[in-house]
């Protein structure tokens, strides 16, 4: 066991995979330097593996994500970086109509072992064209796995399994957890700003050698009896914070970290909710037509009955830091809603 930052863990898992398997390559804009600010002394993939395996690209996301799909089909295991989840818009044809469908169309004779790695999430004042989460949106498309880690150990283990998965995975890396992203986009080297960064997400214990964490297995972070808080990414930390305060109010909340938005761990969800009979989904992605609705449908289909609520992002994320804080699922909103549900 050793301590590592969230972002460092991801890079370290990639590094391990690249050392193990020649077919793993990484490509995207600025991949050669993006990690300079804090990570230069630590694994720098470009310097270690060279420019054929760590390929920087022009600003041509639809072109190079499309190319990564067939590169994967021809035997590579590309990790293609789309800087921000928001920019997945530009690449959507490659994801929706190619990556997600080719295995099916080929009669399952040809796989697309592709990882799309993208930074997501808000909380540092960049506004709604650079702070979207979109994991539930992507999960609508059959054929994709959607990974959203919340801490360094998961980040590395899930990255490893994503790389070795034979079908496309979209891997979301929250900017509030990845130190270099926050440095890059948020503080820019300033000491005059501060952000509500979840400490346990930012840094933590990781194994000495990465092992795959299977996709689709949730992680129960905290046990509880009165309500199940379900979340991913930064939301997990907000939920834990809320759960601790709820405890003081006499409400015992269980906290589940989904780790993957697709596939969902239906058994794990069932187990918790059949106990608590109350559900609160905490989702930084948009509320409507997303994760919070899907979990609800699955639980009903499973025949459970439960009280239900959700704390999500409801609209475009505003620029103003104050408005932004209200727009994102914050601890206060979670607590209020949880109390409200339990008291129903």
């Amino acid at each position: 066991m050793t301590k590592m930052g969230f972002a460092q863990a991801i890079v370290s898992a990639i590094e391990q995979a690249m050392a193990e398997d020649e077919n793993v390559i990484i490509m995207g804009e600025d991949v050669h330097v993006l990690r300079i600010p804090k990570l230069l002394p630590k694994p720098n993939l470009f310097i270690r593996f060279g420019k054929e395996r760590v390929k920087y690209t022009p600003i041509s996301e639809s072109g190079f994500v499309g190319a990564a799909v067939t590169a994967a089909m021809a035997g590579l295991r590309p990790i293609v970086e789309v800087l921000f989840a928001d920019f997945l818009g530009v690449t959507m044809d490659a994801i929706l109509n190619h990556a997600a469908k080719i295995s099916f169309f080929s009669g399952n004779k040809w796989n697309v072992p592709l990882v799309i790695r993208t930074a997501c999430g808000g909380g540092y004042g960049d506004a709604g064209q650079h702070e979207q989460s979109l994991w539930g949106w992507l999960a609508h498309i059959p054929g994709l796995s959607i990974v959203v880690p919340s801490n360094p150990a998961d980040a590395g283990g899930l990255m490893l399994s994503s790389i070795y998965e034979d079908n496309p995975v979209i891997y979301f890396e929250h900017k509030m957890l990845a130190d270099y992203w926050l440095d890059y986009m948020g503080s820019g080297g300033r000491t005059t700003v501060s952000f509500d960064v979840p400490e346990k997400g930012l840094e933590g214990e990781v194994p000495d050698k990465w092992e795959s964490i299977p996709l689709g297995k949730l992680n129960k972070i905290k046990g509880g009896n009165d309500i199940t808080l379900i979340s991913v990414g930064v939301g997990v930390h907000r939920s834990i914070e809320a759960a601790n305060i709820l405890e003081e109010k006499g409400i015992s909340a269980e906290v589940l970290d989904l780790r993957c938005v697709a596939p969902l761990d239906i058994e794990g969800l069932k187990k918790s909710v059949s106990k608590t009979e109350a559900v609160l989904i905490v989702d930084e992605d948009y509320k409507n037509f997303g994760l919070s609705g899907e979990i609800c449908a699955i639980l009903l289909e499973e025949g459970l009955s439960f009280k239900y609520g959700r704390v999500c992002t409801e609209n475009t994320i505003p620029y103003s830091r104050e408005l932004e804080d209200q727009a994102l699922p914050n601890t206060k909103r979670i607590i209020d809603k949880a109390v409200n549900i339990v008291k129903k």
Partner: protein, 334 residues
Amino acid sequence: MVEAEVWQLYRDMLRSRLFEEAVTDLWEKGKISGELHLGTGEEAIIAGVVSQLEEGDAMAVDHRGTPPFIMRGIDPVLILLEFLGHSKGLCAGKGGHMHLFSKEHLAASSGIVGSSGPAATGFALALKYQKQKKIAVAFFGEGAMNQGMMLESMNLASVWNLPVLFVCKDNDWAVSTVTNNVTGGKLIDRAKGFGIEGYEVDGTDVEAVWKVVNEAISKLRNNDGPQFIHAHCVHMEGHFLGDPLLRYHRNPTMLVEAADSLKQYAGESLDEVFLLLRKIGGQLKKKFDPLVVTQKKLKDNAERLKQIEEEVTKEIEQVVYKTLEIFKGGVKDD
């Protein structure tokens, strides 16, 4: 330089043509579903390219995938079974004629206009990375030259010096739009704008195509970076089977009736629509048919022509026969 083996090319083209005629027949009988885009009219381009591919080369094709798949040596029975939606088809009946895939031939299709550019680029990237000294071909129409991802992929292939052969099959039309009306500049210049050298060629002349492609491919194999072929052709069946413009063209009375009812709106725009109908008619001339063009070249050896025709006809008949036998056996998953 090696000489083009025109007889072999002719045979390739004829196989594809007769196969697509059989497909047309099955489509008309209602046995094949969906929109069916034939490659009839572009066989000289496909033959000129595909005949020069080696084992291990890759191919990304557009919505007219049948000729390249047939000429690449992929089992026509599997292809036809796929068209019939059979579980034993090339893609287990899941892909159909617009989504043909063969992993062992590194051949992939897509119905999204422009996507063969990134697809071929990704293949070439992998092949080059694996030091395989192989090449990747992208087939696409001139309409696809206005699709952003196609343009992006040209740039990617250029700056990464990838062995991609971009083959633009220019039939002047994108569905019912005359591409010239919506395309600025010259296509060869576009390629140049990305640092790619281009060749323009008459795509009904298989020998001519073969020659420029031969030169382009040797550059590719010599690691000289991507190459662009701009080949002109026509589509003998319009955009797809049942093309409405062709239906009008072939039923002049329908046309007269339509014109009558539209008189009130007579004007520039009405003229433009009728111009389209005249134009599509104009292109259906035999002299644009690459098979006719090649037959003419080979006409001195009428015997051999006839022999090839007989052989290929027989082959395709057997393909259809075998396919239908399996099909009649019912849709079995195994």
